[in-house]
Symmetry: C2
């Protein structure tokens, strides 16, 4: 494709996307296709001859859009916010067009140094201490894997340079909470610890990790000759946005030399609000933490920041250069390939730069405060309604709820819960995620799409009440 | 940013990128900045108030471009081709604008099923058998890590569900060639094998893995009570594009139940040419393979295809669902989160779709044949020039070369090599990567940028001759 064809087709696509975003609120929230329906309409083989993309773009509405689900819809209340501010979309377009490949500093000084600076800007906005150094990763799953690899190699004294985990005399153990995200256990399994060496620590009435239970588990492992290695605390768990007590966990981690990783993938964005920072008090004592600007903050996916206090250690674990110590963490010319798994790297910092430049920190804070207030409003309605039960504190933007009906057994209540949320989701009017809490179904209302205003939360509350009226 | 602001600013950015690509050939190939120079010009903190992106875009030429290096430049001959066809850039723009988050099938049926179909189209174009199932990853580094995790869990019977690598009675061993890409050893270390259990097998005169040496290494490990687990063969090594003998390696792998992973990251794209497929004869017996359409083929980074023969096994290794067997590889609704590390996934298939739709398979084949012919032409010039030495066969698009000067010691020859390539690179007229071959410096000429025509290779050859004339 020539630059002139790109210019012409690019304008078409920009217009198409502007129209698409304009009409988002009028679409069903989630795709109604059945498995296989999208694929069966695609050509069976790649075309031999090239064709004008203008035709493909003209057909997107009919061909592609029915297969899409809209996390950006103003009545999307599922999973967690997955915002994609249009300013950051333009940053991503610039990244694609420039096609930089940051495999080392020289391969794109701008890619490396803008990433460094964006991690610094974010660190300041979040109120984190200067000793945390940041790097952009694709997702929190990857960031948590990096954290556990760092933990593994610290505890075993860089055994990867020798016999690896295979030569260790006693098993290394990882502690998580029973409410940790599934990606944390996955990371531990991929890093080779084995499920037998991952402890799911019990939680308290607010679903936060119980420090006494953690201490007990560590003692049991020590007594059995095993080696405590890492603990993962969560600020804002997936199910209920529970807040693990970072400071108390850090105390234990320091005593036993555990690597403390904090998973703040969703809630970390809220730390641009000074009034929220009590939620991760003690964060300065973490060894690493992850937060995803591609969730609530508004950077288009993927943009996950992994902060680490001892960057030299991370580099030593991830570098393929046996002479790593000589080059470790050259502050003048970072090689971010040694800060993660991939060698080549996209110019992800551009989407964060465009987002922060176009929106500004003030507007981001105002938007997050709007969402917090909307969640509090919904919590108040639920608390005031006789047949509705709120199941967890609402420190952030997620409200966990059940509708009660007298005389139902626990099994019947589960059925009732799945029935009413199913009716809402099937309507296309809103989307909510059911989830298990202590073995029983409940419904999460996760607020925070860019377009979600109070009126949309009010609409949802009416939909919820209607859904149980039948 | 509103859709209307996006429309206005998006048109500006499309125009800027069209102009940027038009003027690419007139720019220095690589950035001439010193470390820190880019960053020091950036604001020290994020802006409090948002500002118009039009201003930022107007400043890109002066502020951003000096920090860029241009792998798309027609006289870029470094590393390997890293093409970014403008058609695929538009596919990536669509992905960013739609902001789908493919964390499961329901979260975006189109994302999942288009990815499935693009992997199928590519499989057909590459002449691979139907039993290979594909998934898009970010890079070959990640794909190779997945392969070694699959190997690890197959050999130890899914020990990750028990004590992990920590409970294994005897060490698992991985075999690579001494010319394997550094990412393969990195993957083995991250997967916990340990460097002591990674064997770098010797290569022959053409730098291809020696099967007799592999057989011997396996026997030695078996005799010592260790467990051979995986072998990684390369089609087109990084230094010289050497071709490991896949069929003979597969024979050994089957005998000893090794997982055979083929790293065809760069050269895999050439397999759209039937006349190249002899290079990976036996590929149908591999357990997994990786190729990167984001290299020579032209998809904008990142777009790496990981093909696996036993997808159920991959899912079992990567799934966080302990009841994975019940849901494994539902052909009706794939959940690609269980085919890799990240939970959320970008809509990467769009850039491959736009590339194949706009260019067509015929044109892609013609372009790759052009590059192969250009490499053969340069090899002929070198072979005919008295003081130049070609160091390896040229099956693909890379020519390895030294300039000889009578009477130089090996150390002096190294200095001479680094001096002449350094002069070319410093000129900004072309870029070449020096590399070590058998402990001595040589220069790789890697041909295959989209814009590189015969005239540019001729210009390079003149630059090379001029660079040694001093």
């Amino acid at each position: 494709m020539t630059p002139e064809e790109f210019r012409r087709t690019g304008h078409l696509l920009i217009d198409w996307l502007a129209d698409f975003r304009t009409t988002l609120a009028s679409r069903p929230v989630m795709s109604a296709l059945e498995p296989g329906q999208f694929r069966e309409r695609l050509p069976a083989a790649a075309p031999e001859r090239g064709a004008d993309l203008a035709e493909l773009i003209a057909g997107l509405e009919a061909e592609l859009v029915p297969g899409l689900s809209h996390f950006q819809h103003p009545r999307f209340f599922g999973y967690f916010p997955s915002n994609a501010e249009l300013s950051s979309v333009l940053g991503d377009l610039l990244a694609a067009g420039l096609a930089q490949l940051g495999l080392n500093w020289q391969a794109s000084p701008a890619l490396t140094e803008l990433e460094e600076q964006m991690c610094t800007w974010m660190r300041q906005l979040l109120g984190l201490p200067d000793e945390f150094e940041g790097v952009l990763q694709d997702t929190a799953s990857t960031s948590s894997l990096l954290a556990l690899l760092c933990a593994r190699e610290r505890t075993c004294g860089h055994a990867q340079a020798r016999g690896g985990l295979q030569a260790e005399p006693a098993p290394l153990v990882v502690y998580v909470s029973s409410h940790s995200h599934s990606s944390v256990e996955k990371a531990a399994l991929l890093a080779g610890f084995g499920r037998d060496n991952v402890r799911a620590i019990a939680t308290d009435d607010d679903h936060a990790l119980r420090v006494d239970a953690l201490a007990e588990a560590i003692e049991l492992d020590l007594a059995a000759g095993r080696r405590p290695c890492a603990v993962v605390a969560t600020t804002g768990t997936t199910a209920t946005t529970a807040l693990d007590p970072i400071a108390a966990i850090a105390e234990l981690a320091e005593t036993h030399r555990l690597w403390l990783h904090v998973d703040a993938a969703m809630a970390g964005s809220a730390m641009i609000l000074p009034e929220c920072r009590f939620m991760w008090a003690g964060i300065e004592r973490a060894d690493s933490l992850v937060l995803n600007p591609h969730k609530w903050l508004g950077a288009v996916f993927d943009c996950s920041i992994f902060y680490v206090r001892d960057a030299d250690h991370l580099i030593r674990v991830m570098s393929t250069n046996p002479s790593y110590l000589a080059i470790a963490n050259d502050a003048r010319a970072k090689n971010y390939r040694d800060w993660g798994i991939p060698l080549g790297r996209r110019f992800r910092a551009l989407k964060l730069w465009f987002l922060l430049h176009a929106e500004g920190a003030e507007a981001l804070r105002a938007r997050l405060r709007r969402d917090l207030a909307n969640a509090r409003w919904l919590a108040e309605q639920i608390d005031a309604a006789p047949d509705w039960q709120r199941l967890a504190p609402v420190p952030l933007q997620t409200v966990c709820v059940r509708h009660l009906r007298p005389g139902l057994s626990p099994e019947q209540l589960d059925e009732h819960t799945l029935a009413w949320v199913g009716r809402i989701n099937a309507s296309g009017q809103a989307f909510l995620t059911p989830a298990l809490l202590d073995g029983r179904w409940m419904v999460r209302v996760s607020i925070g799409a860019l377009l979600t205003e109070r009126e949309h939360v009010e609409q949802l509350w009416r939909l919820m009440q209607d859904s149980v009226a039948e």
